[in-house]
């Protein structure tokens, strides 16, 4: 016969297991959607909750760290990989083949032809990622704890705790950081478009 302690242990083990399983499924679905380019379909709150549930139940110390934010952001930013992919597809196949036909090994082709040609798409993706990342609010709000408060969450906290002056100052800092990046990006990307 299975005695009480055992049964109790089993009963207490079931809900977290079930939650883990559910979170895992949700994450898999999320990854699947992301794989096929449907990431924008998942609301950020749902994605953040899914990540939270999963890493709360997994015995790896990611929850509450910056790591979990990185993982959560990956969902959101999968679009950028589409951008890089588009950049890669834009490279005419013969440009790559011409390198091999010139006697270059694969690594030399990658280093001297493919990466330089992809650089504009890669840097555009990076800048987009940077801007979206800085203003991301929903997911860090769901996932923050003591050690991983990001600027946007801090701004909100300051505002909530009745410190509008401080939050305004922080907002100014955020703008001051993002603005030059956008400015430079617009200049270089516009020039590239003109050159083409």
């Amino acid at each position: 016969m299975i005695r009480c302690p055992n049964r109790r242990a089993r009963a207490s083990a079931v809900p977290p297991l079930r939650a883990t399983f559910a979170a895992l499924c949700a994450n898999l679905v999320g990854i699947g959607l992301a794989r096929f380019g449907y990431t924008p379909l998942i609301p950020a709150v749902i994605a953040a909750l899914g990540v939270m549930l999963l890493y709360l139940s997994l015995p790896i110390g990611l929850y509450g760290s910056v790591g979990i934010l990185i993982i959560a952001y990956c969902y959101r930013f999968a679009t950028t990989t589409r951008l890089a992919r588009a950049g890669f597809l834009q490279i005419h196949k013969e440009l790559e083949e011409a390198s091999a036909a010139s006697g270059a090994r694969w690594l030399a082709t990658l280093r001297r032809v493919l990466i330089p040609l992809m650089l504009p798409a890669l840097s555009a993706g990076f800048i987009l990622l940077f801007i979206v990342g800085v203003r991301e609010f929903t997911m860090p709000l769901v996932l923050y704890s003591q050690d991983n408060v990001v600027l946007s969450v801090l701004l909100w906290q300051l505002f909530q705790s009745g410190q509008p002056a401080l939050s305004a100052a922080l907002a100014s800092i955020i703008v001051a950081v993002v603005l030059p990046v956008i400015f430079v990006a617009r200049r270089t990307l516009a020039r590239r478009t003109l050159a083409e």
Binding site: H92, E94, L95, E97, A98, S99, A100, A101, S102, G103, A104, R105, A108, R112, V113, P116, L117, A195, E196
Partner: protein, 373 residues
């Protein structure tokens, strides 16, 4: 120099594997210029890519300069083959300037080539293609002809034993194509490289190559010297592909003891008497080259091989005029002739046919639609 034996290659598609090339065998001698000529989709580019090593053949062997680079179990990758290749799109790297594009094959060469040596060889080859003043021009600022020269310079800078050209002139406009064709011919002969090029343009193939292989549906259907192929096509396909030929369908009516046959042409009810092997009753196709036909306003004395018709279109082309003549059948006959003032649209004319210049093909290809290419 290049030996290709029994080459076969197929590509997977939604409807199963499609054989792009089967049983192709040919040889190119040292310093020879060889053309693979055929319509798009005939497999000529696939052969070129197999020789380059960009595709792997399923069957057959390829040997470049006596070294087997591809057969049943061995495959030498592209970058280890001593080739130079000019791509259809030219594939000039847009992030490099002219000099760096041309220097690239030397820069990636191992063991390393000394910088001074690279500069000397690149400058030499740029001078050869007439781009010495443009070494530092960005690749994005080049005209079509200049891109072609850069692509050629890049392909020959390593002094390859085999030069491969994929539709080298198809991206140029007509006038530039003519001058580049002559220049390409001069360059290939000057550096004495063995060249294999593919083209769908018969003028290009006939004027550039020492030998031409005409391809259809993955096979070589005829191979030979340009003049030979043009004068003696072995099949209706080759005859039609090599010139803007007129093709008339007909039936052999009778054959006399001297080997002459009388052919009744479909449609107009005209008859031709020619020397041929075909038996009475056989369906035949008669191929008439536009430049072998003679136009006259008066009926010739011997009208056995003259067809009456009416001019429906006149296109003046400078040194010659292209007349289109309605002879009553379904197709119009095209005739190239010297400009004649009295032949205008609507004029009734006689088309004189030089029977020695007529090619006749039996009914094996009877299903081929009859019109002029």
């Amino acid at each position: 120099m290049l030996t290709v034996k029994g080459l076969a290659k197929s590509f997977p598609t939604a409807e199963g594997a499609v054989r792009a090339v089967h049983g192709v065998t040919f040889c190119i001698a040292q310093a020879q210029c060889y053309a693979l000529l055929g319509p798009s989709g005939c497999g000529k580019t696939t052969i070129l890519r197999c020789v380059a090593g960009l595709e792997r053949a399923e069957e057959g062997s390829i040997a470049i300069g006596g070294r087997v680079v591809s057969d049943g179990d061995s495959f030498v990758p592209v970058h280890e083959r001593a080739i130079g290749m000019v791509f259809q799109s030219y594939a000039i790297w847009p992030h490099l300037d002219v000099f760096d594009n041309v220097a690239y094959p030397l820069e990636v060469e191992r063991p390393r080539v000394a910088r001074a040596e690279i500069e000397k060889r690149v400058n030499d080859v740029l001078a050869l293609v007439g781009l010495q003043t443009m070494a530092r021009r960005p690749a994005t600022r080049l005209s079509g002809g200049q891109q072609q020269r850069v692509a050629l310079a890049r392909a020959i800078v390593r002094r390859p034993s085999l030069l491969l050209l994929d539709e080298p002139l198809s991206n140029l406009d007509a006038r530039l194509r003519d001058s580049m064709r002559r220049e390409l011919s001069r360059l290939i002969r000057q550096i004495g490289v063995t060249a294999l090029f593919v083209t769908h343009d018969q003028v290009e193939a006939l004027s550039l190559a020492d030998r031409v292989a005409v391809m259809d549906q993955g096979r070589i259907v005829q191979e030979g010297a340009p003049a030979d192929i043009y004068e003696r096509p072995k099949s209706l396909f080759v005859a039609r592909f090599l010139g803007a030929a007129n093709v008339l369908a007909g039936r052999v009516e009778e054959r006399d003891c001297q080997g002459r046959v009388r052919i009744a042409l479909d449609g107009g009810g005209h008859r031709l008497t020619l020397v041929a092997e075909d038996r009475p009753g056989a369906r035949v196709h008669v191929v008439l080259r536009p430049e072998d036909l003679m136009l006259s306003a008066l009926a010739p004395a011997d009208d056995r091989n003259a067809i009456p018709g009416r001019i429906v279109a006149v296109a003046f082309q400078g040194s010659s005029v292209e007349y289109e003549v309605d002879v009553g059948g379904s197709a119009l006959l095209r005739v190239f002739a010297r400009p004649q003032a009295d032949l205008t649209r609507g004029t009734p004319v006689w088309i004189g046919i030089d029977t020695r210049r007529v090619a006749i093909f039996g009914s094996a290809e009877g299903s081929v639609a009859v019109d002029s290419i």
